[in-house]
Subunit: 453 residues, 2 copies
């Protein structure tokens, strides 16, 4: 019996894709930067089917690459070696009724973020994570990569929403922990170990997620400033506001690109080097609180405030249209870093010089989540210097004791730079955990931990 | 060279205690329920000294039991076998200046919760965890046991405050991760794996902690209700209030005990079976919001509200004096369980019958943290039936898919009941992780995972 025949016995004839045309949508990531060949694509419909697939693959010695919504950015969800079985979790789309009493819900790994959000809102609640890929990104992938987004400041990242999960380990055993107890001090937190492990320790099939009260009243300020340091001063004070819901930063070069791309007018009569977007949210209108706060900030060059939905969307667009505007301008080298806040202004100041040395004439566009010291570094017109540029920027970040991947994860794309952010002792501990749970290296080989040389 | 001589070379003569009188305060827990004999007590003063101590113990094959403030409740921090070196972290008392920009601070494992809170408040911030043992409980122990308390509803438990840590592994290597990056997706979250692992995977020597904005304005309501179900209905609506800071439940039997012990008057002209304490906190006075909320709750039998410090303390006393009042009334069997909220009313209803069957005439006092479905079960006048009673209650809890230890941890005291809360697959995964990081079982033997029979 061949592997494909065994897999078809488990998931049914039509859910094992061998034909290259049928495999193709799974074999290339959405940015089209990463592509590979899978032995086949298998689409199980339940945790039990996933477990059976894993057992069959383990018996055949066939490595597995796990895929959710295929919206990753670090080459962690498409095949690399040609020998992998690509396990798509897209059919695990169960969405249980919202448990309003617990303010929690259990969702299959294949449920999209958008479907989850709609489901929560229909029950009068909300979900604490939001990001641009919401229509395709799936719950399983969001947990496996500990996704971030614009609401981390208030609710934490994806791992902080997870109160339990179900997963298939490399030997086909299922660990299931979906009761969603808010407190449970009975041993190692396997849920948090699997969250952010990028599919290398187990395959997350279902998750239990906390929901948050909706905050219907919002006010947004777009603020023009003369430096990153001033933006940080404003943030430090804004943190005292109980309603603070977002603090996003962007820069003149990006805002100019966005204005051209989206046909937006200038936010202010004067141009500023730095723009800070601050959002307050609450049960009652926070506009007065926001205006009072802005009045007390001497750093502010200019500011505009919106409380109605249309006005808020317009102000958010200066920040949110960055990704699309950059894509429209070319194929960027995309990095995603964070540094301690005390080092952020220095990093921003040094980045252009570092880039210029490696890729003269390249354009560096920065934007990100100020509270977490997290900058998305997009470099346009870098030519063929991608790897060299990545190396230079990530080394600069490491010099500030920063993270080479703040939100996106490591995948295969960043694995060679892991040692810039983790010490040899940490990497050794990770390897021991990997070896303990997946001794044959079946799950996502080459992702996160690469073979020592 | 003896082990003691080697240890004295590392930490100095006076910090290795061999004399039984000097060892004694370390060998018995504060409740005086658990006691043992240590080979010696060693008091290192730095991470490097801890690492050297671990290496020497590993070479000698001497197991280590780790102790913080010795305020644990599950026999996890005193020796059991007589062969252990007791490693006290009390001298790791470094407290770095508060990083106001990051709203974080780095503290040595031996810093008390009280010292941490005072340090944070002096910098205009606050710490998100508070509990009764604050004057003795240490930061290292709080993280190692993932302590809870009355503020979990708002800020999460201890693990949610930790942005990084430094720890010594069983082979004496040090993992250090103290930059405190709010987002860092570069591999396995060793910090969260060690948090709550009760010293069995590594010895936490320093931690990086997030601080929270102070919420100076508070209002407290004590509410009389006729059932646990009604308390849950009020809670479900209270969760929509952005200022909700605490929701604590207690019952008539406990309130009666507290009134006698503390000489408190009756909170209401009428007695109620269930009492719910709700606290709102914010930047501005939340009293009106609280009154409006209470006006909309039909379940409420009676309610009293306090906004000034003295009045709030008085209302809190009905809940907070429970532990002392119970201790004054006898030596209780102490359990600490949580169940899904949907099962809580049933658990409360069944507990007296379950207790009565095993220990006729015993008194069951319940109080706890309603939002987490967490009840502290204290049973007075149980006679010699402690183990049998524990077994009966924990089995009842497990029947509702609850946790046999919501806050206190497992230690040695609850290890035999671990399988009531964790599946064989989970326990197997835990054992593999333990074996990977501590193959010789050097750290806290007998705690959490006991040898399979």
């Amino acid at each position: 019996v061949t592997l494909v025949a065994s897999l078809r016995d488990i998931v049914g004839e039509t859910h094992v894709l061998v034909d290259p045309d049928l495999r193709a949508p799974y074999e290339t990531d959405w940015t089209r930067r990463f592509t590979g060949t899978a032995r086949c694509v298998v689409r199980p419909a339940s945790t039990d089917e996933v477990a059976a697939v894993v057992r069959v693959c383990a018996a055949a010695g066939a490595p597995i690459v796990v895929q959710g919504g295929n919206t990753g950015l670090v080459n962690g969800g498409v095949p690399a070696s040609g020998s992998e079985v690509l396990l798509s979790l897209a059919r695990l789309r169960d969405l249980e009724p919202v448990d309003v009493l617990e303010a929690q819900v259990t969702a299959g790994a294949g449920v999209t973020l958008e479907a989850l959000q709609a489901h929560a809102r229909a029950a009068g609640l909300d979900f604490g994570v939001d990001l641009a890929a919401r229509s395709a990104a799936t719950v399983g992938g969001l947990v496996a990569t500990n996704a971030g987004g614009v609401r981390v400041l208030r609710y934490g990242s994806m791992r902080h929403q997870v109160t339990g999960l179900e997963a298939v380990l490399a030997d086909g055993t299922v660990i299931s922990r979906l009761t969603g107890l808010a407190k449970d001090n009975t041993g190692y937190d396997l849920t948090q170990l699997l969250a952010g492990s990028e599919g290398t320790l187990g395959i997350i099939t279902r998750v239990r997620l906390r929901l948050v009260p909706p905050l219907p009243a919002r006010a947004v300020a777009l603020i023009g400033l003369s430096s990153t340091g001033d933006a940080l001063s404003v943030l430090a004070r804004a943190r005292r506001l109980p309603g603070l819901a977002a603090a996003e930063v962007c820069y003149a070069s990006g805002v100019s690109l966005v204005r051209t791309y989206a046909g937006l007018g200038a936010p202010f009569s004067e141009d500023f080097p730095v723009y800070l977007l601050v959002e307050l949210a609450g049960g009652s209108d926070p506009t007065d609180e926001l205006l009072e706060f802005l009045g007390g900030c001497e750093e502010i060059g200019d500011a505009t405030v919106a409380s109605d939905a249309a006005g808020r969307t317009k102000l958010w667009a200066y920040r949110e249209a960055h990704t699309e505007a950059i894509s429209a301008a070319g194929v960027p080298v995309k990095l995603d870093v964070s540094v301690p806040l005390a080092a952020l202004a220095d990093l921003v100041a040094e980045l252009p010089t570092t880039v210029e040395k490696v890729a003269p004439g390249a354009r560096t566009i920065l934007f990100g989540h100020l509270n977490e010291g997290n900058l998305h570094v997009n470099i346009l017109d870098a030519g063929a210097s991608g790897v060299e540029l990545t190396d230079a920027v990530l080394n600069l970040v490491a010099g500030y004791r920063g993270s080479i991947s703040s939100e996106h994860g490591v995948g295969r794309a960043k694995a060679r730079w892991l040692a810039l952010s983790r010490t040899p002792a940490e990497i050794a501990a990770m390897r021991r955990i990997k070896a303990a749970l997946d001794p044959n290296g079946l799950l996502n080989p080459g992702v996160l931990l690469i073979d020592a040389e």
